[in-house]
């Protein structure tokens, strides 16, 4: 990228996001971040990059359990408590244009879903894939451990279905996923969503849009004042 009198401000602001596709707060955080970038006067100079993070990495590959049943079995959460927290999150989601249907969401091992994100990234469609996987999980009630479902979603985005199937059967992008997870550990990330702005400032959680805007403003200011 060419330099200008504005120094590093001429380069895009990079937002690195760690998230998982079965993380309901990640879906919300992703949508709110998108709103913040759209509101940001320099939004066209922002690049968002997604990184893999796994909730329940020990969950059996290929298995699927309704998320509500999982919460009851794993944490002994009463049904009323689950419904209450879901209602709160669904209300926040609706404000961001999301349609949460928790009663049909599955808990799965998301390693294969992350393969699809890395496959899409290789074709410049990372953000579309992340968004499609979130919607498949939280609105459409799709099983993201099912290879046929994942390949169909890839094809829906215009990616080669056969290439998607091959990526799943050959366990492709393992190195990239492990690198994302290792980087998360290095940064001390223990929960998601987690957002890093220009490798300097960080936000944890599905924050209100105002906080994402503040982070963007501060990061832009950093760039404008730092020497090239």
């Amino acid at each position: 990228m060419s330099e200008s009198v504005f120094g590093r401000a001429a380069e895009p602001v990079v937002i690195d996001v760690w998230s998982d596709v079965v993380c309901p707060f990640c879906y919300l955080g992703s949508a709110v971040l998108k709103q913040a970038v759209e509101q940001f006067p320099h939004g066209s100079s922002v690049q968002v990059r997604y990184h893999s993070f796994q909730l329940n990495p020990g969950f059996p590959a290929g298995g699927a359990v309704l998320a509500d049943d999982y919460l009851t079995q794993q944490y002994g959460m009463p049904k009323a408590q689950i419904e209450g927290s879901h209602a709160q999150l669904a209300a926040r989601g609706a404000e961001a244009g999301l349609d949460y249907r928790f009663e049909q969401s599955y808990m799965v091992n998301t390693l294969d879903a992350h393969r699809m994100i890395h496959l899409a990234k290789a074709h410049g469609q990372e953000l579309d894939m992340v968004d499609r996987l979130f919607r498949a999980e939280f609105t459409d009630g799709r099983n993201l451990a099912d290879h046929a479902v994942l390949a169909d979603l890839a094809a829906e985005l215009g990616l080669d279905r056969d290439e998607a199937v091959q990526a799943l059967t050959t366990k492709a992008y393992e190195k990239d996923i492990r690198a994302d997870l290792a980087q998360a550990r290095e940064l001390g990330i223990t929960g998601v969503p987690f957002f890093v702005f220009d490798n300097k400032r960080a936000l944890s959680g599905a924050q209100p849009v105002e906080l994402f805007r503040k982070a963007l403003d501060a990061t832009w200011q950093d760039r404008a004042t730092q020497p090239a």
Binding site: N56, T190, G205
Partner: protein, 49 residues
């Protein structure tokens, strides 16, 4: 360009004091921004709060 790169490689190889692999960069500590407490995070064990 290619020849200057080759020269650099030769210099590095000839210097016995240069370690075979450089230490990985230590990431600078991140500045955590002030945030809302009830924003919502999911932990690695799958619990969300």
């Amino acid at each position: 360009m290619e020849s200057s790169n080759a020269a650099l490689v030769l210099e590095a190889t000839a210097d016995a004091e240069v370690p075979a692999t450089a230490a990985p960069p230590v990431p600078a500590p991140l500045i955590m921004l002030e945030s809302a407490d009830d924003a919502g995070v999911c932990a690695v064990d799958g619990s969300c709060d």
